[in-house]
Amino acid sequence: MISYQSIEINEKKSYGQLLDSCCISDKHIDSMVVDFLGKYLGDLISKVIIEWPYYDQDYLSIYYIHYSKKFKNYPKYCYRLHFISRRGEYCGCTVLRPIIIGKKMGKTYIKPELLLKERAYLVRGEYNVHIDGMEELVDAFPWMMQDTDITTCAHIAVWSVLRYYGNRFVNYSCPTLGEIVENVHEEWGRKTPSVGLTPIQVSEILSRYGFYPIIRGGNKNKTDLLLEETFAYIESGIPIIAMCESKQHAFSVIGHGEIKKDILDNDEYVNKIREPETNIILHSKLINSIYVMDDNCFPYRRVDKYIDSESDVPYSMYEISYVVVPLYARMQLEYHEVYNRFIGLVKYGGMKWEGTRIVRIYLTSSDLLKNYAKSQGNMSSILKNIIIHLNMSKYVWCIDTSDVEEYKEGKVSGKVIIDATAGTKDGEPWLLMHDKGEVRFYDVLKDTNEIIKNINIEPYAEYAHNLDCIEVYNKEEMR
């Protein structure tokens, strides 16, 4: 029979109760679990519910291909811990597996609000958790520790991204950890125990599950270009897998930190980050941190451009050597093509975008873009009408451009929409572009470019549908 046992949490030390033999078998828990929970959740949690037995699909998938073949006896069942906040809200759960010490935390869904120290912009999905006959929903990103035997950091990074897509979109499957291990193409011998994955192997696994991945990186002289491109895909709501050669480590990147708009008041800094011939500043230059799911650390760790002993993790963004981006089939035009075309457009295209402008480049679906346009009360009715009724490809690249003051207010006064299925040699991939006085768009049925001039387009709110803006919980209210 499934049992549910509660323990009250009054302070960090309360988590020590989990180590009592009457609560959880010592095969399933160790002091690292207790330390992690005490350190990161602390007294924001009022109660932990212990569910036993729990048959975890991911643990069973590696049990049958690996642990069942070992001489030592490994149980099939797990424990699952559920966390309830002081406000009585369900905050998430974690699975405890009977494996090596220090790696017992399995599949975990936990609300990021509990763990963030500042505002963040993250990718999240909604996960159903059934507990004691009830269904709870958790907005989270999947996380677990590697078991070090059959899976490594790269396997976990791939698993977390595939689990996110499989849960959120019906046309993607939800492979277990064991299925991912079995799908690794290994030319140099056996798959278990694993010695890690290369970027190419990661890309191959993603391909097997319906993605059209790209690999970027491998040149330290172009680290800043790599980070610019990484930010564009993060801004598109696409979780990516990053690999760090100096630390021999991989993790998934799921969002970014605060946008430092006050940097724009520092002329010396602005001069260094501005694109020389067009006065453009990429929005990504104003962001100093990303958020990652690192199997060595608790979920939602912040990775800064410049780190020190106080940082969440022992590596900086600049140490990222490669990224593998899981694109869809219809996302054919790549970031650097979009950027280069846009620079050409700014120089020679005739749009009146004047002065220093901040530019944000991202992918989105045309449906979501039209929904956004429809909801914009401040958008010019002419522009709104065109966007809503324009024939577009399923996915489009968008480039939002604002002057400094508009950007600080979260507004946009120029936009370019590009067909994401356009080829790299396609000279005219534009679907729409506008400045404050003119709109140009491509009518696919007539195969002509149309222009509407002498209109007044006031700045309107920026598009913000790809990432969830997550505010920090008021910790005093939580207590």
Binding site: N221, D224, E245, K247, K260, I263, K272, Y306, D308
Partner: protein, 195 residues
């Protein structure tokens, strides 16, 4: 791995430990240093040394110095981006990191730069901050920038001459720019702390 007069580093941790042992880091954060090395160092053809080059010895002009390069490339411009292009960290932290990097260059180029120290840091910082929009920094602008460090024009010219010799900066159409990468020669010599 140490082979004769050459230090051939093959992994980031060992390189970091070697540099921290030889140089010391006083107030700079060790985690920051290791991250900087992890971001900017690259091992090109591990175990294979590059060909030697000959430089005039600035201390004794009648002599020349023959240096055999090891296989560590260091992205100098990226290092400056990481250290200086950060609006959050206080100037004192940035200065500590800048001085650590200067000491790495001094370790790598030995006698070539033993007469240089803070002057080298000031001039490199000036060139980095004055370079933007595809332009480098003219000598006049560098002199004006470095006046706040009380540097004399003559010493600045000497510093620039030596920085060009060790390929940290280059002159392009009358303007100085920071080199993208430098090759570090990490020789197995009797290095004392706090060079």
């Amino acid at each position: 791995m140490i082979n004769g007069n050459e230090m051939i580093a093959e992994d980031y941790d060992r390189l970091s430990d070697y540099l921290l042992t030889c140089i010391g880091h006083e107030k700079a954060d060790e985690v920051t240093i290791k991250s900087l090395i992890g971001s900017c160092a690259e091992f090109d053809g591990a175990g294979i040394s590059k060909s030697s080059m000959v430089f005039p010895n600035p201390v004794n002009p009648k002599e020349s110095v023959s240096l055999k390069f090891s296989n560590v490339k260091f992205s100098l411009r990226l290092a400056f981006d990481i250290i200086l292009l950060n609006p959050v960290k206080p100037p004192s932290d940035k200065n500590e990191m800048l001085m650590f990097m200067i000491r790495v260059l001094k370790l790598a180029f030995g006698e070539m730069v033993k007469i240089l120290d803070e002057d080298m840091a000031n001039v490199l910082q000036a060139i980095y901050m004055l370079s933007y929009d595809n332009h480098g920094a003219t000598m006049e602008k560098i002199i004006e920038y470095c006046r706040k460090y009380n540097m004399q024009a003559e010493s600045m010219e000497r510093v620039i001459y030596n920085l060009e010799n060790i390929k940290c900066i280059e002159l392009v159409e009358g303007e100085y720019k920071l080199a993208e990468t430098v090759i570090l020669n990490l020789k197995n010599v009797d290095i004392k702390r706090g060079i």
